[in-house]
């Protein structure tokens, strides 16, 4: 069959590093610092709740929006933790991870030609999903401002066609996050130009140096924000695929329309496990967070002392060191490091054009692995 794939999909930027990923997957005994998920397994109480729900025969669909009990728990959690009020009836939608939330919101808001701002380096899906939805991704390079979006740069990229911005913090791949003051300044610009903030806060619980402020909690921001979060990173529940979207009624209703035709609902087992996560999972979250923070210190100091300079991230479990000094581009660096020392990292170019001087290193790996990886990277840099 010829031309079976649509032009749109054909033209989607292929992930230039797919071949590299395949190389990693085909190799044994690799220490992988290329993983975008926790190295912990889901805490047992949460797993047990999933098993129990199966034993009890909970195997059906749920409401399209998700189990009411889960929406209610999320609503209460957000109220207690951040003072944010979302009605479980019509302002919360349970999604298949934040990934689905991003897809739903973009398809709900984009008219052909609408522009979506994406600060970069960024998570890999934002641009392609915007294009699939008929929008035009406008990338904002934040390298020079320490990987942070500033109000000035933001304003420069806004025009009449600008519909929304996808803000992600703590940021994958840099681990950088924003303080409340920094967010407030961005918020003012967005409100002034009536631009929706799609706020991907999946790493919120893993913020180390200051309290995470949800964008929706800023003055006047709530009606202008779609708040996306989920259970994957904080509760080590990536494979369960449970996220949630909170926002203005109309927008959630629009997203729910698409969700009900394409997904129906998030698997009930996962939703039931997520309910338990909110009941008994917080202690585990805190424990994991402390462990990540210790690893962060070890990695940042380790990498800097090897001459791979990196800004100290405030959250998530990534560092994004510069490899400029080595003279290699990010893909070459990653391939050589893999072949010579069996350490896997993700080339910076995956996260946007112009980041070929960087690599993403994930410290979601055991302390022993991290120490060994630092040694190997050191040896690689010496002999390169």
């Amino acid at each position: 069959m010829k031309n079976i794939v649509s032009k749109k999909v054909e033209q989607m930027q292929p992930s230039g590093i797919r071949a590299f990923f395949d190389l990693v997957l085909g190799m044994k005994e690799v220490i992988s610092l290329g993983v975008g998920e926790p190295d912990f397994v889901t805490p047992w109480q949460i797993r047990e709740a999933g098993i129990y729900s199966l034993e009890q025969g909970f195997t059906s669909y749920t409401s399209n929006k998700g189990l009411y009990k889960l929406r209610l728990s999320i609503s209460r959690y957000l109220k207690n933790k951040h003072g944010l009020e979302y009605s479980p009836e019509d302002e919360i939608l349970i999604t298949v991870g934040v990934s689905e939330g991003v897809d739903l919101v973009l398809r709900s808001i984009i008219n052909p030609g609408d522009k979506i701002l994406i600060p970069q380096p960024s998570y890999v899906s934002y641009g392609p999903v915007t294009e699939l939805a008929g929008g035009l991704p406008i990338y904002i390079d934040t390298e020079r401002q320490g990987f942070k979006l500033t109000p000035g740069t933001l304003e420069k990229h806004i025009d009449k066609k600008t519909k929304a911005i996808i803000l992600n913090y703590p940021i994958n791949p840099t681990g950088i996050s924003y303080t409340k003051e920094e967010l407030s300044r961005i918020n003012k610009v967005l409100l002034k130009h009536k631009i929706l903030c799609i706020s991907d806060e999946i790493y919120a619980d893993l913020t180390y140096d200051f309290e995470h402020t949800p964008f929706a909690a800023l003055t006047g921001a709530k009606d202008n924000t779609l708040y996306l979060d989920g259970f994957s990173k904080s509760y080590a529940m990536t494979g369960w695929r449970v996220g949630f979207a909170c926002g203005p009624k109309d927008l959630i209703a629009g997203m729910t329309k698409i969700h009900q035709y394409t997904i129906m609902c998030v698997p009930i087992t996962s939703q039931m496990a997520a309910c338990e996560a909110l009941v008994s999972g917080r202690k585990s979250v805190e424990e994991m967070k402390r462990e990540y923070r210790r690893r962060r210190e070890l990695m940042v100091e380790g990498l800097n002392s090897l001459g791979l300079s990196c800004i100290k991230p405030q959250g998530a479990f990534y560092v994004f060191p510069s490899i400029k000094k080595t003279g290699l581009n990010s893909l070459d660096f990653a391939q050589k490091l893999l072949r010579k020392q069996k350490v896997a990292v993700v080339p910076g170019r995956a996260f946007g054009r112009g980041f070929d001087d960087y690599i993403r290193i994930s410290y979601a790996s055991s302390m022993d692995n991290l120490k060994e990886a630092l040694k190997r990277i050191g040896a690689f840099l010496k002999r390169k």
């Binding site: 290329g34 993983v35 397994v41 210790r294 690893r295």
Partner: protein, 161 residues
């Protein structure tokens, strides 16, 4: 709990320098904190967790949990008699517990006979010991928070965004 202890409880080999790096402290400060914990008896010992099932010619191949009923002594209660019991090298753990008996012992021996003779010849004949019940361990699954599996299989895919 102090994070220094949290780290050491997981990995007794973590050096003060490494701990200092992880916690953004001065190595000297970590070293003196550890000294203090050692002196104060918070840190008692650094040891290696072994999976003895995998060691051949093991001297302590058999373990038993032994419940012991005791007649407490005037003034010192259970402490004195407990001391007499836990001083035997065969006893690897000794707890005073609430319920139908008083002491719970973990006893190790080369085989069933050595443990049995320890019970009949040493333990039961102590004046204050009123009775014992011995339970031999058949299999260890988890000990002190460590699941005794040789190698956890890696379940994550090696690279992802």
């Amino acid at each position: 709990m102090d994070e220094i202890l949290e780290i050491l409880e997981k990995d007794a080999r973590a050096t003060p320098e490494e701990i200092a790096r992880m916690l953004k402290k001065k190595p000297a400060a970590v070293r003196s904190a550890i000294k203090k914990y050692e002196k104060g008896g918070v840190i008692l010992k650094y040891k290696t967790v072994l999976n003895k099932d995998l060691i051949k010619d093991e001297d302590s191949a058999v373990r038993a949990l032994i419940e012991v009923n005791i007649a407490p002594q005037k003034d010192v209660g259970f402490d004195k008699i407990a001391e007499r019991i836990y001083s035997f090298p065969e006893v690897t753990s000794c707890y005073l517990i609430s319920g139908t008996y008083d002491l719970l012992l973990v006893v190790e021996g080369k085989n069933i006979h050595t443990v049995a003779s320890f019970v009949s010849e040493k333990l039961s004949c102590l004046e204050n010991v009123k009775g014992t019940a011995t339970h031999f361990l058949l299999k260890k699954y988890k000990e002190d928070g460590v699941i005794l599996k040789h190698k956890e299989e890696n379940k994550r895919i090696a690279i992802s965004y």
